[in-house]
């Protein structure tokens, strides 16, 4: 009886496309599904056979005074019960298996699709929402599959079967009996809605109580120091009593529903017996039919209640599936061409006439909201980085230097112009080849669950132990990792909370060293490190960048000054380009900044201070 908030429900308009898509996704499993359905139908028939056999036993055996007929009915009843048991076991297994496998594939498929999408998608989607698409939206379906799906199908079939059976036995009595069904359905639907709302309120009240409780506990010393226990106790009493009231409201709703259901059950029996007597008297039905009807009544009521309870879960699962389908429909903004080519081993990195802005103003996010296209962040940028050259990108925050770096590794495609490596447009390159040649090392060293070794081997999962160690050695980091409890095989827990920020960055440099790309795009870290680590990082960087083309998004002027050339990005354009000495001599933005920094800040100015 999980309550569903508005966005956890599937809207009527979305329902039929979702069902159609589901059907097409299940096409591969047609065989399994057909078998499962057949078995569930078989089980339902066994359940429905019971009351009918009771009728036979009573009419032919008891009324007809024929012990043999009674024995036959009883044996058949036993057989149907055993068959029902076997079919039941099989049905649960089959339905669960097909459902769970479907969900397993859906999980993998959604995850794979998300990873194929461009960075624009990740900028658009809040992380929390995206993760819940990949996890809780599937988990809710998991609940349906494991606990509800069989019941849902069974109960629906049982309901239909029982209606057919009573009509087949005696349609006049069936009509009389079914009069009580609409009110039961109606009151069940009312109950589902009302109790759903009530439980949402209960959940909120519980949250408030817990918040007050937590604050009262964490702040207990201050509360006591200021003698405010009385105030806090009465504040807690208010939320606590509000929770009680909310709970009691939910109870009041159920107290109205369950008596009605029980009464309806008794009324049903009374109607069947009363009207049955009339029809038996007129000779249109037998006594056995009356008994069978009373037993079928159970097969009408139970399913209605059960379906009512499952309704919410089905709704939520539908909503979950709908959200995942929207996700799967999201197109990739940086698609790989089917005839993508290999990039040359070395070459110039060339940016020509590139304009770029975030968002295309067309693709909706997974909530269906289309965000307007952003203005151009870069416009008309031309820049060539020669093979083996070190180039620094500097400029104020928001100037577009990080954006330019992202275009160099094809996190985005430019709106106009092109980015090429060795003469090949990045859009024509195979993605794997692109990632081999050009590697980006982000600002923060991000670690994944696993060992340090796993983390270093991220881009080369097939690299052997020696290769990893060689990469570490090349950066002069062998000593660092020996200090860990299990060396390179130390598990990094919780995204590397065991490692300092500097150590994480060093791991990420080792990762790049193992990947051994032709071009490195570095986003310089801004966080403050202790002097020892800083030193180590500098040295590792020197080793790493040796012999490679390097583009560094510089946040410190000292870093920029050490590069071969500096590109000053301002207002989305390339404002100045040249060596440190050139730019200082030219007396532009860079020179002004350099002078200001040189005279006032002995410990480090930031390139973001540019005018």
């Amino acid at each position: 009886m999980t309550p569903a908030a508005a966005d956890e429900r599937l809207s009527r308009a979305d329902a039929s496309p979702v069902v159609r898509r589901l059907a097409s996704m299940l096409r591969d499993r047609r065989g399994e599904l057909a078998l499962a359905t057949a078995v569930v139908v078989g089980q339902t028939l066994c359940l429905l056979a019971g009351p009918w056999l009771v009728k036979r036993g009573v009419d032919a055996g008891l009324i007809g005074d024929d012990p043999r007929a009674l024995n036959v009915a009883a044996v058949l009843y036993l057989v149907s019960a055993v068959l029902g048991l076997l079919f039941g076991r099989w049905a649960i297994w089959l339905v669960n298996r097909v459902g769970e496998r479907f969900l397993r594939d859906l999980r993998v498929r959604a995850f794979r699709h998300v990873l194929d999408l461009g960075m624009d998608f990740y900028e658009r989607e809040p992380t929390g929402r995206l993760v819940s698409r990949l996890t809780s939206d599937v988990d809710i379906m998991e609940q349906l599959v494991s606990q509800g799906l069989v019941m849902f199908v069974q109960n629906a079939l049982l309901l239909v079967g029982a209606v057919v059976a009573v009509f087949a036995m005696s349609w006049p009595l069936a009509l009389c009996t079914l009069v009580i069904v609409p009110p039961v359905v109606w009151v069940t639907r009312w109950f589902q809605r009302a109790s759903g709302r009530a439980y949402v309120a209960v959940r909120e009240r519980i949250g408030e109580t817990l918040t007050t409780l937590q604050e009262g506990l964490e702040g207990v010393r201050v509360v006591q120091a200021f003698n405010r226990q009385g105030g806090f106790i009465s504040k807690f009493r208010r939320t606590n009593e509000a929770q009680y009231e909310a709970n009691l409201e939910a109870v009041r709703i159920s107290v109205r529903y369950f008596p009605v259901i029980e009464l309806a059950g008794v009324v049903g029996i009374a109607v069947i017996v009363g009207m049955g007597a009339y029809f038996v008297d007129r000779g249109t039905i037998t006594v056995g039919v009356v008994l069978a009807f009373v037993l079928y009544l159970n097969n009408l009521f139970e399913p209605i209640q059960q379906l009512g309870q499952l309704y919410n879960t089905v709704q939520q699962s539908g909503a979950g599936l709908h959200k995942i389908l929207v996700l799967l429909d999201t197109p990739c903004s940086v698609p790989e061409r089917p005839d993508g080519v290999e990039l040359p081993r070395r070459g110039d990195l060339e940016v020509s006439g590139v304009s770029f802005g975030y968002g295309d103003g067309v693709t909706p996010d997974t909530d269906g909201v289309v965000h307007p296209a952003g203005p151009d962040v870069l416009s008309g940028v031309d820049l060539t980085v020669a093979a083996g050259e070190r180039l620094a990108l500097v400029g104020p925050t928001g100037a577009g230097k990080s954006t330019l770096a992202k275009l160099l590794v094809r996190f985005y495609d430019p709106r106009r112009g092109r980015v090429s490596f060795g003469g090949v447009d990045l859009r024509d390159a195979r993605t794997s080849s692109l990632r081999d040649r050009i590697v980006v090392v982000p600002q923060e060293g991000f670690l994944f669950a696993g060992t340090i070794r796993d983390n270093i081997a991220l881009g080369r999962p097939d690299a052997d132990a020696a290769a990893v160690e060689a990469a570490v050695d090349r950066l002069g980091l062998a000593g660092l990792f020996e200090g860990f409890p299990a060396g390179l095989d130390t598990e990094v827990r919780e995204r590397g909370s065991r490692l300092s920020a500097g150590e994480k960055q060093l791991v990420s440099l080792a990762r790049a060293a193992l990947a051994d790309p032709a071009v490195l795009v570095l986003d310089e870290a801004t966080s403050n490190l202790d002097p020892g680590t800083e030193q180590r990082l500098e040295e590792a960087l020197d080793h790493l960048t040796e012999g490679r083309t390097v583009v560094v998004v510089a946040h410190r002027l000292t870093t920029a000054a050490r590069c071969d050339r500096i590109a000053v990005v301002d207002g989305g354009r390339l404002a100045e380009l040249g060596s440190h000495a050139d730019l200082v001599a030219r007396g532009g933005h860079y020179a002004r900044l350099w002078r200001a920094w040189d005279s006032t800040a002995p410990t480090g100015g930031t390139a973001a201070d540019l005018p």
Partner: protein, 618 residues
């Protein structure tokens, strides 16, 4: 106290049961109503099949239409009684359980609020939260289940009696299979629990991979590690599949029994009962009644096992709650506690000895006199006991030897409320409550006029940044509110202490997070607060220490030296060493966690200057 855990456990469970019983006592009226309603409900339920049987036999088979009408009317009446019974029974049970839950939670919170500091020092917030949440929930569930189970057993007994009266052997055949339903249900839930737990763990692993991949997507894409992450997720998804199928196997084995076992009973009723009818020892209507009874018993029997498990959980929970409720506050008013006499706030520590719990003594015969209105700085190395000295004044802890007096009276002989009213303290780690700035400053006196709040804020150096906010003193603090910087929070906490206008003010490292360049502003304001008020300052920065009239160096749990800041600098090498170490420590701390505050300009705003970075459509 015995060391045998099983005896302890038993004792604790017994206490748990007593607690549950006592919690339901105030609801005697509803208890009686519930019992009566439950009995009426059970009786009505048992009567309906009998009436139906009579209608079939006397009415239909013998064609007495008058009898049928009478019986149908009787069934409708009984049905109404049953409906009212079930409604009342339900309401009574839930009402009692919810009332008990709410009252227990209130008692627990009230007790926790009055328990001494050392209790809270030793408890974890999360565990205490669990007492008030999960444990109490367990009790609620048990309290709802108990009457339902009792009613179920009465129903079962009633059915058994009715059946045995008709035919003992048929009763055995009809009811014989049903206990297996309870057994199977209990077994099933016992075996499903660990499988479900394993499934939850695997689901958590899937989440972890998804989360880290999304969070680190730049790295994943930058290194072309998409395939690697997909492989990892696939492995986790496969593990989920395996566990889910384990659970499915268990369900497949158990759930069909829920239909099968009652059906076996119904087959027996048809066959053996049928033969009894042929022999003239039973009537056709009885067959119907027996079937209805079997259907009636399915749910009660499925749930019978639940109570046993739930009762065990609830008594354990009750025991844990009892443990907290049975803890007496160690710091409380003595019998005949006296009112605080008027005075200027003279403080005296006489041969004070104190240690935390079984640990080593922290204070070891400390003697210190502080004149009314005097400002004294306590200085000493980390862990020397200076904070402890401060905490003994408002009786956060009681001394183990010697005594602490305020204006000549042992603090233990004073009314606690008056003592704490007279002593204002600013803690080292600032805790602000969710609510407005005004509510936080006026914490000691929620009805304080706004002018007092403004004055306190001004004296604490908080007025300027608070009044610059769009909502001023109405600005919300807390999870969804404005996030103040560490230094700003400390100044609000100082304002909170100032508003109470205490006789004795204790500043426990109260300006440690304030940007040094701002501290001088607070210092001049603090001078005004301290004028004529007894003040204990625990500080690291020499500039703050210099606010005091006198400095006391604490070392080895005693007063090691005292004098003015300048005197001690000259006479005490230990003082110089401690101060130098403290300064270095403070420096590292500021550099470590408030780097942003220093370079961003503290008052520029607590909302971390939107460092969205470039790019991103926001």
């Amino acid at each position: 106290m015995t060391n045998d855990p099983t005896v302890n456990d038993k004792e604790s469970r017994r206490a748990g049961w007593r607690l549950m019983w006592s919690a339901t006592r105030p609801e005697t009226g509803w208890l009686v109503t519930g019992v009566v309603a439950g009995l009426v409900w059970t009786g009505a339920k048992l009567v309906v099949p009998l009436l139906a049987a009579r209608a079939v036999d006397d009415g239909i088979r013998r064609g007495e239409s008058g009898t049928v009408v009478r019986l149908v009317v009787a069934m409708l009446v009984v049905g109404l009684v049953q409906a009212v019974g079930t409604g009342l029974r339900r309401y009574a049970a839930f009402h009692i359980a919810l009332r008990a839950e709410t009252d227990l939670r209130q008692r627990l919170f009230t007790r926790l609020q009055s328990l001494h500091f050392s209790f809270h020092d030793q408890s974890q917030t999360g565990q205490l939260m669990a007492r008030a949440n999960t444990d109490i929930q367990q009790i609620n569930t048990a309290l709802v289940l108990i009457p339902l189970t009792v009613a179920s057993f009465i129903t079962l007994a009633g059915v058994a009696v009715i059946m045995v009266l008709k035919s003992p052997l048929l009763a055995l055949l009809a009811l014989g299979t049903l206990p297996f339903l309870s057994l199977a249900a209990t077994r099933f839930s016992r075996r499903l629990a660990p499988v479900n737990l394993a499934l939850q763990e695997e689901l958590a692993d899937v989440s972890e991979v998804a989360e880290e991949t999304v969070a680190g997507v730049r790295v994943v894409k930058g290194f072309g590690a998409e395939a690697r992450q997909v492989r990892r997720l696939t492995a986790e998804a496969d593990a989920v599949l395996d566990r889910a199928l384990d659970a499915a196997r268990l369900r497949a084995r158990f759930l069909p029994l829920v239909d099968f076992l009652p059906t076996l009973a119904m087959v027996a009723i048809l066959w053996y009962g049928g033969h009894l009818v042929l022999d003239g020892r039973l009537e056709v209507g009885d067959i119907l009644a027996f079937n209805l009874y079997v259907l009636m018993l399915i749910w009660p029997l499925r749930m019978a096992g639940m109570l046993v498990a739930q009762a065990s959980r609830a008594s354990a929970s009750g025991g844990r709650i009892h443990e907290v409720l049975a803890t007496e506050p160690r710091i409380a008013d003595r019998a005949g506690a006296a009112a605080l006499p008027p005075g200027r706030g003279t403080l005296a520590f006489e041969g004070v000895r104190f240690g935390y719990g079984p640990g080593p003594a922290v204070l070891n015969g400390l003697d210190l006199r502080i004149r009314g209105g005097e400002a004294v700085a306590l200085v000493g190395a980390t862990g020397c006991g200076k904070t402890t000295v401060a905490r003994l004044v408002p009786r956060f802890y009681d001394v183990e030897g010697g005594r602490v007096t305020l204006d000549g009276v042992d603090v233990r002989d004073l009314r606690l409320s008056e003592l704490r009213r007279a002593v204002g303290i600013v803690f080292e780690d600032t805790f602000l409550f969710s609510g407005t700035v005004r509510e936080n400053i006026a914490f000691a006196d929620p009805d304080a006029p706004v002018d007092d709040v403004r004055r306190a804020a001004r004296l604490a150096g908080a007025a300027e940044f608070v009044e610059a906010l769009p909502d001023g003193y109405g600005t919300m603090i807390g999870e969804h509110g404005y996030s103040f910087s560490g230094g700003q929070r400390q100044r609000i906490a100082i304002a909170r202490a100032v508003l109470a206008d205490p006789r004795v003010l204790i500043l426990d490292d109260a300006t440690s997070a304030v940007d040094p360049t701002k501290e001088h502003e607070i210092r001049s304001a603090l001078r005004e607060v301290m004028a004529g008020r007894t003040t204990l300052i625990i500080a690291h920065r020499p500039a703050t220490v210099a606010l005091a009239d006198r400095v006391v160096l604490i070392d080895g749990g005693r007063v090691a030296a005292e004098g003015t800041h300048e005197e001690l600098l000259v006479t005490s090498p230990r003082y110089r060493a401690v101060l130098a170490a403290a300064e270095l420590e403070a420096l590292l701390r500021t550099a470590g966690d408030d780097a942003g505050e220093v370079d961003g300009g503290e008052d520029a705003g607590g909302v971390t200057a939107a460092r969205s970075g470039e790019g991103g459509p926001g």
